[in-house]
């Protein structure tokens, strides 16, 4: 059984069709990358997966539950890392993680042990008693990553996992996500960053115009497989290309092989 399954998902806001017949599945053991340009329907899909919105049509299942009818039970069993950091809070990271442990009904001793492990892993032990409002964005992101995994969920939904993190911590988080999925968990990663997707995902779905336009396995790709960036660019529809700046449109039209030519001419002495 798929950990996450979406079929025929539709959601409109007024006359705007944000998601249109979206479909994909994520199995345990996978890091699934959800790639798409701005406005492709990624955020709306994540909101449907976490029960924040009621879809107009379609089926959504997360760990066997319907988030539309069981939003709280669904969120109890998954970890969620939103793209936007939490709004400023006057709790410290230690208190915030205790708060998350309480709303998730976890034993205090278990929470304390998990806090130690995560501060060790991401290196924010020195900031455990600093007010969240006074932390840098990178430190805040570390705390948010820790909260998403505090209860060791079977599935995690992550929006831009590496935002604001320094390269060293980015590498740690990437490795952790891969290892976490390998431990029979499902990791769903929504990102704009193709390099991130290539480095950690076992499979990606490319979304455009509110639907999944193609899926591709990144495990053991054939030697002659097109680079992911090229696949991504090919899947950008004409409609979306119209909204792109002229330079980006040229990239879409010409393909990545030609990307550097004009720039090289422009920058040569």
């Amino acid at each position: 059984m798929a950990a996450i399954r979406v079929e025929g998902l539709c959601k409109s806001y007024g006359s705007v069709r944000a998601v249109d017949e979206m479909g994909f599945r994520v199995d345990r053991g996978e890091v699934f990358g959800f790639l798409g340009p701005n406005g492709a329907g990624k955020t709306t899909t994540i909101r449907a997966l976490t029960g924040q919105i009621e879809p107009d049509a379609g089926t959504v299942r997360v760990l066997g539950r319907d988030p539309t009818t069981e939003p709280i039970e669904t969120r109890r069993h998954v970890g969620i890392l939103p793209e936007q950091g939490s709004p400023p809070s006057f709790l410290t990271p230690r208190e915030y993680l205790e708060f998350v442990g309480s709303v998730r009904d976890l034993e205090p001793s278990y929470v304390a042990e998990r806090i130690d492990r995560w501060t060790d892993r991401l290196g924010f032990g020195g900031k455990l008693d600093t007010l969240h409002t006074d932390l840098s964005r990178g430190q805040q992101q570390k705390v948010m990553i820790a909260q998403a995994f505090l209860h060791e969920p079977d599935a995690v939904l992550i929006d831009e996992p590496l935002a604001n993190l320094d390269p060293l911590v980015q590498e740690q988080v990437k490795r952790f996500l891969v290892a976490y999925a390998a431990d029979d968990n499902a990791v769903f990663v929504s990102t704009h960053n193709i390099e991130v997707a290539e480095s950690i995902c076992t499979r990606v779905g490319i979304v455009a115009d509110g639907r999944t336009v193609t899926e591709r396995s990144l495990e053991d790709p054939p030697a002659d497989a097109d680079p992911l960036l090229e696949v991504f660019l090919e899947e950008v529809t004409d409609a979306e290309a119209r909204d792109l700046p002229a330079s980006a449109r040229r990239i879409v039209e010409d393909g990545i092989d030609d990307i550097d030519e004009p720039n090289r001419e422009a920058t040569e002495p």
């Binding site: 709280i72 890392l81 709004p87 205790e98 709303v103």
Partner: protein, 507 residues
Amino acid sequence: MTPDADGGGDSRGSRTWNDDSRTRLLFAALLREEWRLHAGLFGGWRFAAFPLVVAALAATGAYALLESVGGSGLTDETLLLSVHLLTAGFGLYSGTAAFAGSDMLENVFGELSFLLGTAATLPLSRRRLLGLFLLKDALFYAVVFVLPMAASGIVLAPTASPGAIAATVGALWLSLSLAFAAGMAVTVAAIAARTRGVPTWAFAAAIAVAVAGAWLVDSVGAAVRAVVVPFEAGLPVAAGTAVGTLLLAVVAVAAYDPTYGRPTRTVGDRFVSLSDRLPLGDGSEPGTNALVAKTLLDLSRSSGGVWKPLVSATILFALVAALVGIVGSITGIEPAPGVFFGGVLGLSAFTTYNWLTQFDDLEAYRIYPVGIADVFRAKRTAFVLVGAPTVLVPYLAAVGWFGATLLDAVVGAVLLAGYGLYYYGLTVYVAGFDPNEFLFDAVRFGTFTLGVAVALVPALVVGFVVVPPSIASGTALAGAGLGFGLVGYVLSSRAGPRWQRQYRADR
């Protein structure tokens, strides 16, 4: 958009703007943003109708006040003082917009996306941007809020000639706008001083000295009144107040340090101990204690701490006490203090709830296994824990100061509790998680005002007519308090599901 005469541009297409053009451009953009912000939030007509609601409320309030004191019309001194005090108080509150010029507001509301934030990315002076932002605010409120209040005076002098009415209303508008600007300038100056390291206790001491001076020394009181009510102070004094306000504002903006930031704060772990001590029992949902504890810690650690709701309630108490004193001195009629203050002080439920929702938003809770109804329930518990002592102190001061009878004090206490819960439920049901924003929505503001009036006006009438309250009137009022309290409880319980439906439909 006019470039300089010599500003034809360079090879990169940039144009040279002089200071005046840039200032005009910025000011126009800020005004446009303000309009679109409110029109976008509520829909154009709901925001456009807001001044009409203010005018209607002001006219009704002025009429009721004059009826109660037997006043002489638009220029009645009781009315003038009341409306100017209210406007100056709103100016003091609006001056807190100056927080928007520093990182301090970002700590409260997060990353700002307004034009005010562009000083970080564009070649604009942060001080100039802040000054224009505050000027825009002053002009905006002078038109949207103060002008309707002044214009409502038309209904008080229906028989005067149109020219005379226009002249009086115009003068009243200028006078009220000056009182508003003076209040705003004082707050901005205080914030500027804070960015220069002036300690909090110094502000508290200055306020205490000013209040004591105005209260105890007649000449100081008269001077304060002249500043607050320019309308009756005469043109020279009003002109002096205008110049003084302008100078204070200029000095405040010049002294403002936009780089001010608080040092990093570290604190010990209070969450678990507070959460464990909350008296919610084992039957509550998992996480309820945690949600309440988080709200209380956010409130207590933000600027002003747990004192903020008390200050808000005390300001309300001071305004009402001053009004009762004025009415009493003119007419010889004083209301039953328990009933009167019990009914009115419950209105601090709005400000207390506002403080409790300043530091989070509903979106943030959607990553946890809690429902919106759980969050609203936790806010209600926090409201009771914070709101009860907040209103109890000024209420006890009122019944002690004005010498309430035992029955009056008991009935007033029941009214205070019941009406406080009712006003709370009404606020939560109408405004959801954003009580501040709904102020400029004509429909929501009108609904809230009507809901308040339905409960408060009859109680105040009884409080004025039956002094001290009889057993019969006291029983009726206590019954009203309990009844409206029950309505408030039901409203606050239904607010969660209501806003959950709305939230899921809108997002």
